[in-house]
Each structure stands twice: as structure tokens, then as C-alpha cells.
Symmetry: D2
Subunit: 341 residues, 4 copies
Amino acid sequence: MDIIVLRPDATEEALRHLVKKLESKGLRTNVSRGTERTIVGVIGDTSKVTEEEEDAIRVMTGVENVMRIIKPYKLASREFKSDNTIIEVRARAIGGKKIQVIAGPCSVENKTMLLSIAEEVKNAGATFIRGGAYKPRTSPYAFQGLGEEGLQYLVDAREKSGLPVVTELMDPRDLDVMLKYTDIIQIGARNMQNFRLLLEVGSVKKPVLLKRGLSCTVKEWLMSAEYIMSKGNHEVILCERGIRTFETATRNTLDLSAVPVLKNLTHLPVIVDPSHGVGKWDLVAPMAKAAVAAGADGLLIEVHSNPEEAMSDGEQSLKPHDFRRLMEELKPIAAAVGREI
Amino acid sequence: MDIIVLRPDATEEALRHLVKKLESKGLRTNVSRGTERTIVGVIGDTSKVTEEEEDAIRVMTGVENVMRIIKPYKLASREFKSDNTIIEVRARAIGGKKIQVIAGPCSVENKTMLLSIAEEVKNAGATFIRGGAYKPRTSPYAFQGLGEEGLQYLVDAREKSGLPVVTELMDPRDLDVMLKYTDIIQIGARNMQNFRLLLEVGSVKKPVLLKRGLSCTVKEWLMSAEYIMSKGNHEVILCERGIRTFETATRNTLDLSAVPVLKNLTHLPVIVDPSHGVGKWDLVAPMAKAAVAAGADGLLIEVHSNPEEAMSDGEQSLKPHDFRRLMEELKPIAAAVGREI
Amino acid sequence: MDIIVLRPDATEEALRHLVKKLESKGLRTNVSRGTERTIVGVIGDTSKVTEEEEDAIRVMTGVENVMRIIKPYKLASREFKSDNTIIEVRARAIGGKKIQVIAGPCSVENKTMLLSIAEEVKNAGATFIRGGAYKPRTSPYAFQGLGEEGLQYLVDAREKSGLPVVTELMDPRDLDVMLKYTDIIQIGARNMQNFRLLLEVGSVKKPVLLKRGLSCTVKEWLMSAEYIMSKGNHEVILCERGIRTFETATRNTLDLSAVPVLKNLTHLPVIVDPSHGVGKWDLVAPMAKAAVAAGADGLLIEVHSNPEEAMSDGEQSLKPHDFRRLMEELKPIAAAVGREI
Amino acid sequence: MDIIVLRPDATEEALRHLVKKLESKGLRTNVSRGTERTIVGVIGDTSKVTEEEEDAIRVMTGVENVMRIIKPYKLASREFKSDNTIIEVRARAIGGKKIQVIAGPCSVENKTMLLSIAEEVKNAGATFIRGGAYKPRTSPYAFQGLGEEGLQYLVDAREKSGLPVVTELMDPRDLDVMLKYTDIIQIGARNMQNFRLLLEVGSVKKPVLLKRGLSCTVKEWLMSAEYIMSKGNHEVILCERGIRTFETATRNTLDLSAVPVLKNLTHLPVIVDPSHGVGKWDLVAPMAKAAVAAGADGLLIEVHSNPEEAMSDGEQSLKPHDFRRLMEELKPIAAAVGREI
């Protein structure tokens, strides 16, 4: 809270009362009387003023509006740390010159499939393997993931391919198990404001990939990063994955402008997941290119060796082949923006 | 999945292949050849077809679109249970003729304040006391709630006022403690798709008040109710509390049309929280009236005895008085729609 | 523009430069140096500062943000005129104690049908007849309205039923013709920011019913009212008809909180169109009741005597009957909020 | 209308009645009885079924839902014309290998400024000059444009620089004047569904640049293109310029996924306006790069020689310099996607 606007009908007494309250909090004020409104500038460490106190001022007699000038997050802000944060994971630097590519299936379905995909994406240039062992599904009747068995397969894939592992944590009770397996903990879009989970992953020494919530603003997203950082874990990777809008031609609307917006506001690495943002392979490739051109530090791309498999036993799939071509096509774009891939 | 639309260029072979797949799943098909598209109707128990299988069909050669006719939720649907579910909580019937009013402060701040509010709202006609002991806050630096101490104060308030307790659960690890205190477990908007938490509260014998997520569709909301019900707990109360839109004049946009929409789709009780939906007292009263007129089974309203208290030591507040007046004003509206309050 | 926030790194020279610019515009300044930001309060008639000038300040060296405190509309504001505007149309007062009900078909299809509906809605208690002669259709291949012939039928309906006419204007070139027939000119949602059309209807002596644009904020809506009023026509009726959100269970999301929000901000009458907001009859009735409970000054409801007619020659329809029942059901709700219907 | 889903409780008589209606329209049916729903496939030229008729079927007894399989636009669809439309304007091909860049100020303010900008953007590689002579402004008190005088300056700029002119039409009454000056007629976002204006520009021989409405879906956008094309003018350029969402860090959310989505659905050229989409220069450059990487056929970029000028008489501006640098930076990205700039 930094600026308080008074109502046109605010009395002198209401103003005095307000000023007294602020001074009782150790703050100073600067009253500016305009022709239509009187404005009170609040001077001092207003970051100590809590949301509750701000709300309390908002309902005081004579107050029309309270406006915060100072950002509500600190550790995540570019002002707190001006140089980019680079997160090292098994000799891969996220946030550095090289664009990191996290690839793999949506869910870990079985070991053979996962090892095969890991090998293929590694050969195509991916630098991390992903796959869900705990799956957030909108339906209770859908496959919920293999659990710890899936985590073990991811480690098998890492041992064979050399790719570090990214996988999602949904429940604080799974954290200890997960720490034994994964290299990066993913927090999914639906858990971006699961504050208890954020506090838990803030208390461990393991990088966190924080996906943007479906209807969360950039500011709220950075507040969720701040939650993690406030507990001591400063290794947070932000992942744009599409927001919810009225458009139905795509599953979500991938907000690529979030990339340069975040690059201004925060020092944390920013990656983009075009797969969840759009939903179809033929849209993923152009959006992956656009993400790199917009300045993303990395990509998260779903690769299935056999998208038809759930109902079949051998349909051929071009997906790994498409991924390989995409990786080739991304190279000149990365170079054009001073990056490598 | 019930209708599969083929692309205009789909071959006969692709069609045969698709039909064979479906038949291998125990389903029958009805092929309808139009002038511009061929459509495959799928006959049989398509509710067994998982999302994964549906997605797999979607990527098959020749397939343009897959459309589900059957609703993805079952236990929550009006078709499954045609008469309204009435949930009894300490002799109060939620979903019956009487409109239930849950009132109380946002957070439990201290015992004296809570007992005082409980007394006041009870006298005004509220039928439940609410207050947060575990608070989901966007900032890690804000007050996070009193925890179990707050739960104890809620029980103290219940003992004194006779009002049953509604309070929010954020973390599955707090469930056992919470069960000892609360009468209704609230799942907040930000946890509407915290699926692990849903499964946990689905496994206990305690009614669940499920708030709508900020960007969740009615269908997703019912799927989250289905999560809870699928574990055996059929006592779910749906609570509309505003969705996120571009409008900035209100904190959220209260979607009152969700009330009659839900009344068509589900047998579960539907209540409305105008406080979070709009954010200011002077908007809460008209929206509470509108909610009753729209057919809501209940209201959840924040009442503070002293909104300025956080920064002051005794500002007077008209809030309980406003609440009392609102309760009076709601009576003829409830009567007009055949209800009581 | 009233408050200018400087960047943390803004120099004293940048500040001097900014102050000099503002003074050259006849404005005075009040500089408030906080610990983290310096804030410049701008004093004087800032309503003369145009958007261009505001944007120009925003890009000046050292400026972080420019915030307007004063509302950008004036004639439409409650501060300009504190008492409610009541618009008289053929002895009906819109904005007074009596809730006005505008009813009729979406399009004027033929004379017989229109006269029949007019009679029926009049008998049920409607106070205005509506019907589109010029239809905004998303498809160029859909029926575009009967044009002037339709306007004539509306006048026929008025002569027979006594109900004044509301109909939509889409093109400034139709204004002269329309003035001969209609009592209230409707500006549709898709033309809410057709600024040329707004200026035209601002220049005539005829009340204007201004629908809210599908993605327009309350502020923009009032700016569009201001457009009309700035040309001299102060008889503007605001009509909420649903905004666009991600929800697909309803055609739009009817934003009933706009009613009390507008009642605070403006003196103009506010009516609600639940028909376009939700799209189905069974949802229209509860939302009409909710609108009245929320404080709306009127309703706009589509009534068809024969909704199946386009493909048939005599299906019976209960719609006028449903309307009659709704009008009855609205009476106690209107009474409950101190109104008549 | 192509598929009609019956309610679970639909009677045989209702089905017979429905089939008879459809047959009376010259359509055939294919009834598919599933275990939970009966589905009626409609065979024949359903494109002749109007929206009204579709709505009429929707309200028939026993009908639960009507689903269109066939796209509601035809001339704009990729199915109607499989190869890309290339629009030639004074020897520039929009939609071809070369990415066209339309640059210039938001408004035409004066001749000297415009000629200077035209020269600068031309030297930097722009291929069209833009500038508003008629300005859609949210406030009636803001500068509304120079009108025909501004159009003359644009022609002066074309004569001096050789760059063809793009400028916005807001009112059908200005069309004749505009045709004398401009090379491409722009229809702004707020007029995307000003159907009368669309019909007018559909009747002339001049390419139309159709901006996407702030809350319009891709389907509605293509329907608006269809409006223009239905009158004979097939030279329509689609311009993505951001949609409205809850995010406030940017003015709008630039939906770059619309580029590949449109490339699938339509043969029309697609360009991107990052300036309106994001609002700040430092975000425009990365989004312009992203747009090219996503496959856009062109860019529309605002260039001001002196952004502070409205309040000053000589502030230096780096904008044309920034534009020049951006044009250089775009070259390797264009090359990476097989294009030139």
C-alpha cells in the first residue's frame, strides 16, 4: 500500500484519522490536495503492511482506493537480483545461453515405451526426459499414473539415456519418495496456488518447475514463485502452458507475451510448454518456434512414440520423427536470437 | 466418446480400421454417410472409454473430431438421481426448502471476536458459522491462519451459539485434525482441482462444500464433485463464488446463471458466496438477493464485527448490523421463490 | 492522469524535466519521495490531458507508471448528477419505481405474428414491444431482417397494443428512417464501440438503449454512454446482456453484479437482458428474477409465439404462457426490493 | 446442423415428428439408437439450413442438442480453396514468400511527421505505410483523427516513399472518399462484427485488412471474412491483434496460436499486430519475432518518430532506430522458416 486516494466527500477529520493510523504503524505521509481528489502518499517500509491491514484501510471512512506501487514479491523480482538466475542440473544450465528441451510422454505408461522415447528424444537433442507418474486428471475414472513404479522407470530412462528427469508432484505426502528419483520437481498448473505444496517444495534442495495456473496472472504466478523462494529454495523455473480464454479452436491460449514480460520482472528462467497450450501436434511446432523467438529459456514438449496405442497394438507413429525435425528447425531460430539448442 | 466425424478425405480403409478398433473394444457402430462428412455413431457403454482412448481415436488417420454425447460425470448427474439431495447437518437440511446461511469472518483471528460474531449472526438468522483456520493466501508473507487453535475457537463458537461449523481444508495432512472439529469441510476455489485432496475428503463421512475454481467450467466442477462421490462420500455442496473475467470493477464475476444450470444437471445442493464474488459490502447485499431469486439453496457471507481492526483498536463497524438488515430483506425474496430463510 | 510513479533509477533531471512538462500544461505537481519510489501527484484540471498526452508521459525517461484517479467519463457519472435519470417514453418512466419490461421476438418475421405477440405480452404486463428489423447476424447467409417493412409492422403493433417500440439500429444511414418509427433506439452489443454510430444517436432526440459489448468493461460501457451524451442526448439506458467467458454451459455469462456496480457509478437506468445472456428459456426465468432482485430498472425478454415455426406450419408453443407466468412470479420479488412491475 | 441428439426421454413420436420435419426440408436422416441416447444424422445440403431453422429444431420436443459438423463459412475455408491466396498490392504480394511489414504511426498527426516516418520505415525495410485518419477512440474527448486531410497526407507519404497505404475505415459513409486514397482498407477490431461495414467493403475492389475483435473466436473472425467475400471481394487479410483476457500485465493477450490455426482453416493471408497486442515497445520486438516464427505472412508495427511529442517539442526518440534494428533481427528468423523479409 503506497497511495491512498480519498473520496471527494472525505472530511478533514477522516484524513487526520487516516494519517494518525499510518503514523502509528511507523509510516510517514505526504498529503497532496488536488482539485478533485486528495491523495495520501505513504512513505516508509510499506512492504511490512499486510494485505489485512491494506484491506482495513480500504474500508476506512473517506477512503476511495488504495494503490500499491511496490511489487508484492521481492525475492523473485528483477530488482532484488538483476542478473539472470541459472539453474544447474546434472551439468545442464537452465537459463543460460543453451535452450533446454524437456521431452517425453504425458504419462509414464510402461518401462519399454519410456526407455524407447528417452533414447529417441535424446538423439534428437532433448536435454531432459519427462513423464507423469502421478497424473492430475479431471476424471476420477481416468488413469491416475503408475506412482512410484513410474518414478523408477524414469530413473531407468535417465540411467540409459543420461537425461535428467522432470516429473510432477501433486501431494506433499509424496515428496520424500519423489526426492529419491527426480531431478526437477514439476508443480502443475492446477496446483500453482496449492500453497501448502509450494511451501513444501520450497523447503527442499531440488529445482522446481512451476507451471502457470490456467487463470493466473503473471503477478500471481510470481507470488507463487515467491512462496517457494521464501522457504529458501531459489531454484524456480517458470513454465508458461496456456491460459483459459473464450477461444475454443485451441485447448488453451498460449500467452507467449508472458515470456518477455517475465524477463523484465524476474531473474528466474522461463520456459514454454506448447503441447498443453494448443493440444495438437501440427500447432506445437510453430508455437515452439515462436516461443524460442520470443526469448524462452527452454521448451517442454510431449513426445509419444505411439499416440494410438491405447486402443491398438502397433499403429505406427511419426511423433519422434516430428520431434527430430522440429529440433532441427529450431536451431536457426535459436541462433537468430543469440541462443543455442 | 459417442460420435466420430471423419475428414472429407478419409478413405474407406481408414473407416474400416476405425470400426475394427471400436469393435475390439466391445462397441458397435452406425456409419452415416453425409454429402460432406461421414459420421460414425458409437453404440454401447462408451462411458468405459477413457480419455486416453478418446485421444487415441482423435489422432487416428481420417478422424476429424470426436464428440462426447454422454456426460463424463455420473454420480453427480440429475440422470443418476432425479430428486434433490438434501444434506442433514446437526438438524439443518441443506438443499431443502429452507435457505441455509453460512456467515462469519474470513479468518478466525481470536476467540473473543469469533464468539461475538457467531452470536450476532445467529441472532440475525444465520444457520452456520464459518471462519478460516488454514488460509490460502496469495502472499507467503500474509497471515496464514491460526491452525488447530482456530479450529478450537470455531468449536467454542458452535458450543456457545449452536451453529454448526464450516471451515476450509487445504492439505490432506490436516484432515484427521479437522475431522475432530468441523461439521462441513470446505474445499476452496484454488483447490477445486487438487485431486488428491478431493479423493481424501471423498473417503470420509463429512459433508464437503466444494467451491468453484476461478476458471473452471460447470462441467469440470461437477467432475470434481464426482471425484469426491466416487470414493463414497455423496454429501457434496456446490458453492459458486465468482469466475475470472476481464472485468476489473469487481474482484470476480459472480456467475449466477450457474445456479439454474446446475439445478438442471445435478441433484446436489447449490449455494452462492457473493462476498468473494464481488468484494465490497455494498455489492454483496444485491447479489445475495439475486442469488436467492435465482434459486440458490444457501448463501455464504462474510461478516466482520470490525473491518478496520487490523490497524486500529476499536473502530466501529456496521457490518453485523448490515447483515441483520440483509437477512430481513431476503425473507420476502425467499418467499417469492417458494423458500424460507 | 493524476499520479505519476517514477522508476527506482529515475534521475533528478528526469524528475525536473517531467515537472516542467506538466507545468507547461498549466498543471501543478506535488512530489512525494518514498523509500522505494518517488511519486508525482498532478494537481489541476487533468481531465484536459488527453490520452495521447498521457501516453506521451508514460514513455518519458524515468517514468514507470501513470495512474488516473479521476474517472474518464463525466456526464454519465453519479458525481455529475447524483439523482437517478428517469426517461419518459409515451408515459412510461424508465428508471423509476416501476420496472419496465421490453418483450417481443428476436426478429420481426411477419405482421400477423408480431401483432399477436404484442397483444399477448401486453396482456401479460410487458410495457414495451421489441423486435429486430435490421439484424446483426454472424453469418452473411442468415436472415438479415425485413428492414423498413419490419419497422412498419412494429408501428402497427404499437397502434394495436399501445406498447412503445424498441428496435435496433446498425447503420448510421438508417437513422433517418428509424426515427420515423421507433420510440427507443437500441444499439447492439457488437456496436457498443461503433463510435460513429454512437455520435449519430447522440445527436437526435430519442432515447438510446445501449447494450454492453461482449468483452467490454463497465468503464468502457460508460465511455460509450458518454459518447452519446457528449453530443447532447442524455437519455441513455444501459442494458447488461452477458459477457464472454470460458464457460460454455451458457451462451454468455450474465454479469448481474454490473447492476449494483453501475448504480454506484452512474445515474443512468440499468436494465438486463437475460435471454441473450443465457440462451435457454428455462434459464431465463430464474435470471430475470435475479436481475430484479439485484436492482435492475427493467428487463428485456424475448418472447416467441411459435419457436418451432421456421420449419413448421403450426407447432404450438408455450412461450407466451411462460412469459405470463414469469411476470406473475416477478411481482413479489419486485415488491421485496421496493419496486413494482 | 448435421447431428441431432435426442433426450433420453424422447418418445418415438417426437422422433417421427423430427424426421418428418427434416424430410420436408429435402433432407434425409440416419437414426442411430445408442444405449443412452438416440442420434439423428442429417444428410443432404445442410448448409441451406439457416440459424433460425437450427434454433427451431433445438427447441423441438425431445431434442437435447444440435451439432453442426460442417463449417459455417465456405469461401474463406481451406476446403473451398486449397492453395494460399496471394494478394497483390502495387507489386507487393501479401501471402507469398516475402513477409510484408506495415509500419507507421497510430494516428496521422501532421504531414511533416508522417513523411519523415514513411522515409525512415521504408529505409528500414517496411513495405507499407500505415496511419489512422479516422480514429476509433474509447473517449469522445480524445483526438478523433484528421479525416480526409489525413488521407491526403498518407498519399503524400506514398508518393514520396513509394510505400502503399493502409488506413482504417470506421463508417460506410466514408468509403467513397477512402477509395480515392488508400491501397488497403483496414477494418478495426471494434468493427469486426460491424456487419454493414463488412458488406460495404465486400462490394468494392480493394483489399481489406480485417482485424480480430477483442473477444472474437477464430470461427467468428472467419465468418466476418466470409461476409466480405460473400459480396465478391475475396481479398481479405486477417490480422491478429490480441484478445481480451484477465491478464493485466499486457494490454491484450496476443494469440499467436491463431496463426497456425488459421493456416489450417483458411487460404487467406494472416498477419500479426504485436503493437496493439502488448502495448510496450520492449515487448513488441520479441513478439514480432515470435509471430514470424509462428508463420505469419506479415507484421503491422507502430512506429513513432517522437513518442513524447504530444507534450513536448523535441524529445529524442529511438523508435525508428529500434524498428530498424528489429527489421535486421527478423531476417534470420524469416529465413529459418523459409521466408524473406
